[in-house]
Amino acid sequence: MTTKKTWFDGVNLVLMLLLIVITLYPLYYMGIVSISSGGAVSRGEVLWLPKGINLQAYKYVFDDPAVLRSYGNTILYTALGTLISLVLTTLCAYPLSRNHFYGRAIFSLFVIFTMFFDGGLIPRFMVVHGLGMVDTIWALVIPTAISVFNMILMRTFFEQIPEALHESATVDGAGEYRTLLQIVLPLSMPVMATMFLFYAVGQWNSFFPALIYLNEKELYPLQIILRNIVIQGDMASQTTQMGADMATMSATIKYAVVYVAILPVLCIYPFVQKYFVQGAMLGSVKG
């Protein structure tokens, strides 16, 4: 493989750098706005460098009891939801990956059917309501426990584990659970890490189920609070004196909340990311 530099590489490099700037700038911009003074921001003076640096916005955000409470809720929902999702997805994917599983085709069909056809919001709400899960944590973690797409990814991964390993485990006296726990799972760490990331980020960012199924404010996750703060400024009706007072609830606070909300995910990503690429790819190529 020769590594001769051509003009193409040069152009490519410039384009890629540009792409990086385009991707990172919004993140950077939110960062500098959140630490700038409100006045400078509303005069449109903050573009590349922060102005009048202060942490007022963050102080305001952390003084709000709703933010802290919902932060705790989100951590709980993410931890529990991810755990339940991982367990259930594994338990669904593993049998379906075994080719001598009785009725495998028909079960797979049932599961995959739900990927394409969905009752929609109203029937789903009625089911959750009927099961008495409204206003409980279960409404957030049970209905979304298995994502069919993730399950298929996992199943494909399991299918690649050589049959010989299963046979030798059986010969050594391992039952199905033991095979799953001690042979298959240790060999499936890349896909498990990927699933962990998918589910965890999904739970962390999810707001719609919480909005629909929860009535108690004490149970709200962070994303609901975040969304209310970020979107409100844009859509608030400003047909009163009051509207004008509130329209200027500053961008600094908005972006500070955004930062507070994305920080944990930003921190986890780099560590799981190496598995992520591996796991997503391994599932996709057969043989």
């Binding site: 509303s42 005069r43 008495g132 909005l211 047909t239 009163t240 004196q241 004008a244 329209a247 961008a251």
Partner: protein, 530 residues
């Protein structure tokens, strides 16, 4: 052997899933969403849902909630939903027939769902409600909320509020600095803006924005056309307007005054006195221009004036937006549009599933009465406020408790559970006075005086339409809206378009159903008035 094993797998998987589901059910048997108005020991317990604005958190045991329980023996179980997605939640609950006992909805929801029977018809109860009846008499516009002679919602009405509107606001300090007189007519305003532009060549003196569901073009034309003696859209963007002079709906482009207004705007645009990006300006970019001295004039919510002044004065202590007297249009018309004080498009409805409708009705009537209004608007007398010589004053404790909060007024309202964003149905916004700048209060007074003097006119809500009319309006609006909007921009931006194409534009509006649109509005209006 092989077969046995297969069975074992599926068997245990099934057992496991049943176990999991069982656990779920056991964990959450006690949630209940609606129909919860049972009465033990005579107490009434109500689930009560409304949206929550991020500035004013809804506190489940706020002072108003405690006082209501103490005085009325009614336990409110508040369910607050973030305003950003309130619509989704509300529509799901209505569609699945699981609304709480009392829920805040829009007039649109009442129109769309009243025939499904989820909302209690209030008409038979009105005679049992002396306080609400009085409110109805004081606010005759509520009759726009009736559907086929029935009232389903308790509208949010206002007892007192600051009056804001789309009022001419100009940088008074710059007028002084450049030795300019305060303009009194739109022609003088044009001359003034021109001189301001000469003094600051890089500026675009007149800035406008898209806001309140209207596009930038609509929000620009509305106040100007009205000031010229015509008008443009209703508050929801339909291209007809209520004209207080003829007391009926009119279609703006039919009148010469409207053409004059557009021609005036074109003049401003072509001389770069009007923001060249007015079609795409958002509330945020608009604020940036006015805050940073790139623009000096706006005819929009005057409430912004004081926030702009605070921000500008951090850099330039002289800078100041101030209200100028209502401008005179050509032909001597002098009038302005201001916002409605009531929020009649928002109403609380009662679920038909409540067990004691009479009790609920009696309670809500109390909320409209003097005691209820004060508790849900002002707090408790002598604890939170005092009335001295008829003047509202906050107590010292209240002041010292909230004055150092980031947004003191909302911190207080949140704790008390009061106000338009709290529990009030008939709200009195006097607690806002101590937190407002003197300028804002003076502007509000001027606006109110002008309303009484018949110079300022409030936006009115649409009269109620029947189902066919609503369908037809949708079709007509699809036909007309984008056509008119793109033409308006053409007339404002393009030189010569107004002279050569106006007549054919008006013809085409007619062909696309402007007359029918007007007729539907006026028929509906006539039904309300008869």
């Amino acid at each position: 052997m092989n077969r046995n094993k297969k069975l074992r797998i599926s068997g245990s998987a099934a057992a496991l899933s049943i176990f999991l589901l069982g656990g779920t059910l056991a964990g959450c048997g006690d949630s209940n969403n609606s129909g919860n108005s049972g009465s033990e020991d005579g107490a009434l317990s109500l689930t009560w849902m409304r949206y929550e604005h991020p500035s004013q958190a809804i506190v489940s045991d706020s002072k108003a909630v405690r006082e209501i329980e103490k005085r009325q023996n009614v336990k409110l179980n508040l369910q607050s939903v973030p305003q950003s997605n309130y619509d989704d939640k509300k529509k799901t609950l209505i569609a699945t027939n699981t609304i709480p006992d009392v829920i805040l909805v829009k007039q649109d929801d009442i129109q769309n769902y009243s025939d499904t029977g989820v909302f209690l018809d209030l008409t038979p109860y009105i005679d049992q409600m002396p306080n609400f009846k009085k409110v109805l008499e004081e606010h005759p516009e509520v009759k726009n909320n009736y559907i086929d002679g029935k009232l389903f919602g308790f509208p949010l009405v206002t007892k007192w509020d600051l009056q804001a509107g789309q009022i001419p606001m100009i940088r008074m300090d710059l007028l002084k600095k450049n030795d300019l007189a305060v303009p009194t007519t739109y022609d003088e305003l044009y001359e003034t803006l021109k001189k301001l532009k000469e003094a600051n060549p890089a500026s675009f003196p007149f800035a406008s924005r898209a806001a309140n569901g209207l596009t930038g073009t609509e929000n620009l034309i509305n106040p100007i056309a009205f000031g010229f003696g015509s008008g443009y859209t209703t508050s929801n963007g339909t291209k007809v307007y209520y004209d207080p002079a003829t007391k009926r709906y009119e279609f703006g482009p039919y009148s010469d005054a409207f053409k004059d207004a557009i021609s005036w705007l074109h003049k401003l645009y072509s001389e770069k006195l009007l923001d060249q990006d007015y079609t795409t300006a958002t509330s945020q970019t608009w604020q940036e221009k006015l805050n940073s001295g790139k623009s000096f004039y706006f005819q929009d919510n005057n409430g912004f004036g004081n926030t702009f002044n605070t921000i500008m004065q951090q850099q330039d202590p002289e800078a100041k937006f101030d209200m100028i007297p209502v401008l005179e249009g050509p032909g001597g018309v002098k009038r302005n549009l201001v916002y409605s004080l009531d929020h009649l498009s928002e109403s609380y409805v009662i679920s038909t599933k409540v067990k004691n409708p009479d009790k609920v009705i009696a309670f809500i009537d109390w909320m409209y009465g003097e005691e209820g209004t004060n508790i849900t608007s002002l707090g408790v007398e002598n604890e939170d406020y005092v009335i001295e010589n008829g003047e509202f004053k906050l107590t010292e404790e209240a002041k010292s408790k909230y004055m150092d909060k980031p947004v003191p007024y909302y911190a207080m309202q949140s704790d008390l559970g009061t106000g338009y964003l709290g529990l009030a149905m008939h709200y009195d916004d006097r607690p806002n006075i101590p937190f407002q700048a003197p300028d804002s209060l003076a502007w509000s007074d001027t606006n109110l005086k002008n309303v009484e003097a018949g110079i300022n006119f409030r936006f009115t809500n649409d009269p109620p339409f029947n189902k066919e009319e609503r369908e037809r309006l949708k079709q007509l609006r699809t036909e007309l809206d984008s056509f008119i909007t793109s033409n308006m921009d053409k007339f404002i931006i393009k030189d010569g378009a107004l002279e050569s194409e106006w007549a054919s534009f008006v013809e085409q509006c007619k062909a696309k159903g402007a007359d029918e649109l007007l007729k539907i509005y006026n028929d509906a209006l006539a039904r309300v008035q008869s």
